[in-house]
Subunit: 715 residues, 2 copies
């Protein structure tokens, strides 16, 4: 992991103004040859109507792109906010030195051949990072496209692509320039345009999280779109994304999801998305809405940019074709929305005002012959009705209907209201250009298909759910943190990564995590005495760091009935390790087998795991995960969301388990690993759960420590 930047720098709102709102741009490596990047950037600046000064730098030419050229960046007068560097990679360090000497505020190094190639490129990248840092000059790239700003007062096209600078409210940051370009081209095609754009390639200095932080304070940015292939610093990302996500919708394209895709990520970026980082969970934890499809992302962004977030998942559908009502209902449900029946009052109002053959259910089918007044009435009722959080209106344009009139009624009923609206207008776009324009100009997002609108509304409802959950807080239990900390510190000092049974017991007890009663024993006498106190039957386990897989090694015997059996089993077990210790544990009655655990995620805290044991985890992989620490509500959701949940409720007359107790154990577990980040793995496997919460207890526990670096957890 690279060195972290000072958060104070990142969080300063105007910190990137000079990059995104440059008053002057120099191009080192400017060229008169049309197929070069040095030509293209100059041309883009001029064609986009850039409002600042442009300084081509060329060692020989007097003019480049019709502008006066300078022999060196040192010759450029006045301050330079952005200097593009497009010279060969070997010449970049010298160019940056000169930039520094002329107080250039930031450099966009478009040139490739740095860390993405490994070896010498990596060294070269480290070198330019140093040069820039020394000169207090921010570095964008290398191996990158650049930035764009469609603000009419700026119009900066510091990039070598050719996408129209179409003004809008969506800002896009993409690790892959190719993907970023496709996203803004699509936003343009959809008529949404974009606000600012950044593709920072190797991200040697200015990172996507820093850019997100800057856009969080940019008033004209309504929505932030990001595309990430690898996360250099998961902690930085989670910290910033969580904060930005509370302020503005952040939508992420999640690529490299499959084994094949992530193999391609390695091949492309030379690094893996922090091996084992559960990106989906991370995004959810930060309140970032993730997408799998570029078009779906862009289409949803249009709605996010113009509509208020819905308060919940309930959607009301209005249509003038039954077939599309069905399609919309299917698509809404599959996008995670609810399509509930409408309240009686609304149904009655619809029945009274629509054609007698119209359907006043949900979907509301106003019929193909519906007039503008019918649309107005139906939408008016739904907008004021408390039974839905958003409205999806579809309109196929029949030739015998006043289509522009319908459009005007849609706008009158829905535009600028507090309820979320998405419109689907299915038509010949040339013939019904005016109809489309009426709705689009009102700020209501217009889609070609009900499926697309449903997905956009579904994404908005997801964010609303994340936001609602952001009020849930982790409430720490009253624990003996010092006692647990002492165990961990002592073990690490002694360079022991695997904790012994006695140590595990102290830690669980300190956090009030119930375990089966047990005693640590050194010899047979201890064992017999402990069994006498605990009461037979008992379990005998070996307790030795040299026996890791106890069960497989014969280091666990269950259900020992009496002293004689205990003595016999002891005899068999004591030779398994040199100078072993033993654990004598009360044999609990059969309960529902649960597994609960925690895993450290480098740079991003711990993930808590929950599931049922045995075939449920091993064959059916019916396990759920969440980042620590857990709120009580989040822990309850984990318990409720396993597929085999019905077993906890008591299946076929069998006893169930107290699920509140299980949620409590998860919260405590999350508190424990948050307090003790040195823990890399903790497994309670199994926990025996019963209807009586006071009986629920961990039967076996394993705790592993990290003996080297320790990452902080994210609050």
């Amino acid at each position: 992991m690279k060195e972290r930047r000072d958060p104070a720098v990142i969080n300063k709102p105007a910190a990137l103004d000079f990059l995104f709102k440059p008053k002057s741009v120099a191009v080192i490596g400017a060229s008169n040859r049309p197929l070069t990047i040095g030509y293209r950037i100059l041309r883009n600046l001029s064609e986009s109507g850039y409002k600042g000064a442009v300084y081509p730098v060329h060692p020989a030419e007097d003019t480049v792109g019709g502008l006066k050229a300078y022999k060196s960046i040192l010759d450029v007068p006045g301050g330079v906010d952005v200097a593009h560097v497009v010279v060969k990679s070997a010449l970049v360090p010298a160019a940056l030195e000169e930039c520094g000497r002329n107080s250039v505020r930031s450099v966009i190094v478009n040139t490739a051949g740095f860390s993405e190639t490994g070896g010498e490129g990596l060294a070269l990248e480290k070198k330019i990072i140093k040069i820039a840092a020394k000169a207090k000059m921010r570095l964008f790239g290398p191996n990158c496209q650049g930035i764009m700003n469609s603000d009419p007062l700026v119009r900066a096209y510091c990039n070598f692509t050719y996408t129209k600078l179409q003004r809008g409210g969506i800002s896009v940051a993409a690790q892959s320039g190719g993907v970023g370009e496709v996203l803004i081209q699509r936003l343009n095609t959809l008529g949404a345009g974009f606000r600012m754009y950044a593709s920072n390639g190797n991200a040697a200095d200015i990172s996507i999280p820093e850019i997100m932080s800057y856009w969080a304070d940019d008033e004209e940015t309504k929505v932030i779109l990001i595309h990430l292939e690898s996360l250099a610093d998961p902690e930085e990302f989670m910290e910033i994304a969580s904060r930005v996500g509370r302020k503005k919708p952040v939508l992420a394209l999640r690529t490299g999801r499959t084994a094949e895709g992530s193999r391609a990520v390695v091949s492309h970026t030379g690094r893996l998305m922090g091996s084992g980082v559960p990106l989906e969970l991370m995004l959810e934890k930060c309140g970032v809405v993730s997408f799998r499809d570029q078009d779906e992302l862009c289409q949803a962004a249009v709605a996010f940019a113009s509509q208020p977030l819905p308060k919940g998942k309930r959607v009301a559908i209005v249509t003038n074709t039954g077939g599309h009502g069905i399609i919309a209902a299917d698509a809404c449900v599959e996008a995670g929305l609810l399509v509930p029946p409408l309240p009686d009052r609304t149904r009655e109002a619809l029945k009274a005002g629509l054609f007698p053959e119209a359907a006043a259910g949900n979907p509301v089918d106003v019929l193909a012959t519906a007039t503008p007044a019918h649309y107005g009435l139906a939408l008016g009722e739904l907008m004021k009705d408390g039974g839905a959080d958003s409205v999806l209106v579809t309109f196929i344009t029949p030739f015998f209907v006043d289509c522009e009139g319908v459009a005007r009624e849609i706008v009158k009923a829905c535009a600028g209201k507090e309820k979320t609206v998405a419109a689907v207008i299915m038509t010949d776009k040339a013939r019904q250009a005016k109809t489309l324009e009426i709705v689009k100009e009102s700020g209501i997002p217009v889609y070609d298909f009900p499926e697309t609108a449903a997905k956009a509304l579904g994404a908005m409802a997801r964010l609303a759910e994340y936001r609602a959950r952001s009020g849930e807080t982790f409430e720490p239990f009253d624990v003996d943190k010092a006692a647990a900390r002492a165990v961990v510190t002592a073990a690490r000092k002694a360079k022991r990564a695997v904790l012994g049974a006695r140590e595990c017991a102290i830690i669980l007890d300190s956090y009030g995590i119930p375990r089966a009663p047990a005693a640590n024993c050194a010899n047979l006498e201890d064992c017999l005495s402990a069994a006498g106190k605990l009461g037979f039957p008992v379990v005998l386990k070996i307790d030795s760091a040299s026996v890791i897989h106890k069960t497989e090694a014969g280091g666990v015997v269950l259900n020992i009935k009496d002293k004689k059996e205990l003595a016999a089993k002891f005899k068999g077990m004591k030779s398994l390790a040199p100078r072993p210790r033993f654990l004598v544990q009360k044999q609990l009655p059969a309960g529902i087998e649960i597994i609960a655990g925690a895993r450290a995620v480098p740079g991003a805290g711990h993930v808590i795991m929950f599931g049922l044991g045995g075939v449920f985890v091993e064959v059916l992989k019916d396990v759920v995960f969440q980042f620590a620490p857990l709120s009580e509500q989040a822990a309850r959701r984990m318990v409720a969301s396993i597929k085999s949940h019905a077993i906890l409720e008591g299946f076929r007359g069998k006893a169930g388990a107290d699920t509140e107790k299980l949620a409590e154990i998860l919260v405590k577990l999350s508190q424990l690993v948050a307090d003790l980040p040195e823990i890399t793995e903790l497994d309670l496997n199994p926990v025996f759960a019963y209807q009586d919460p006071s009986k629920t207890a961990a039967v076996d526990v394993r705790i592993n420590l990290n003996l080297s670096t320790v990452h902080r957890n994210i609050p």
Copy 2:
């Protein structure tokens, strides 16, 4: 279910020529008022350049739409192939009578107010069906849009919408006219156009399967798209779709998938998709590729219309942006495709011919700076390489590259070859119009996003898989069908819907389906003697039609150890029913609990079910289904496809089960219900399965019969 038509009529290839290639069209209810259907149809016929004669029928006007009008259809000279009927519903019967008298060959009744409204409308529809049948006149509709044919020799626009008649190879049949219109508009926008179109509303006579059958023989139709909301006759659909699907790709939009969607179907069409008909299975059984999304369907259709089917699921990806290579790999895998490493020979050829920094894995990243020659080389190698069945090539158009040259190389390497190809060109469509055109004109489908191309290739691979499976045939076992038939016939004669234990045993034995050894007993002496022969422990079960839930009623006692216990249990059980019989069954050792069964699907044969018992079926719903009869391969796939499959393989050292034996039982079960369609439900619950196939046996069986109608099964 409605009366079935004579298959001979349906299967006659040219049977619908007069409808889709009419030499003359009359419009009864033609009008000079622009916002009427009677006006719009005339206008559409003239604007589309219809090649035949057009006869407006109007009771008063001399000319309509500038054409000579006739007072009555009886006055129209010459033969009329199609008569549109757009008069009020009450006037339709009389209009049809007149059409019949003037030998009109087919009528398109656009008018609504028939079965879709229930009650009187239903009666009216029955009436017009009779009139048409009597006059040997085919009826299209009522409550429908009509047909279209873009053939330059026909150009028939017998429909009141206004979609451009853009020539193409895809024919579209839609139950909902609104959905159909959106589909063809989208095909037009995608540049694919369409061949013929039909939306037949209530489908009183001419059905979508009949239309599919007609299009199967239409040479210019390369792909058939269908949209169905309800299936009037599942058997007709399956028969015809299976046959047509072997000849041409049939792609279906599956709507009403969710509870909410299917509620909307009822509201829209007044009927449910044959309550309980598992449409997804049905489509798969017929080799129809199903889609959930209108746009995805249209985008895939473009590839189906122009590309050969791939031979398998392996795809090779070529890209000039790493980011899109990753996106393509993810999307391909998620679309069910494989993205395997390339063969060494291919990798070496790529390494030798591409830039040194290019990635010769899969995806192949030729780099943004790749020349036309690089694209040509990479694609040439992949097209001849045996390691992939299809090629997905993405191209983002860098300004410094000869983009048209790349397009030409793509075409040269890929167009018209035997391997499936899909291209993704990401660009500014205005600036790179020529580049796009070069590829599109070659017949290679061009997409905007890798995700869309991947889904299209995935759908093609699905059809290839269906086609490959169509060679798998059901191989009947040698069974004693007569013995089983006799049991069923006798029970039905006696009006007994639930078979007794002895009857079930005969049926299973006749088909070689193993069951636990057992004896039918009338009294205690019988029971004791049977137990003596079988050997203790035994199971005692009551066998009485009046005790349906035996276990709950106390009619099953397991694991009876000796004669004394048997006598005691017998005493307790004999009062559960008047004059009961008993089953004494050998108690089998614990095995893996399997459930297998069959359910009749009205009008579509039987569905076979397979899963593990207990929590696996009841909590986790880990059960799979397939239509009977099953090929050996299909049965094996069922066994292999449950999520808990690993348990059958032997989980954690526990004994597994012989899966071949389970597959054999499924095939025999499917043969049984195919031979005995009177069976509505058959449950083997549980079957105890062991590693030793000879021990695997059904422990309990339940067979229910249909005492009224019986549907045929589909071979």
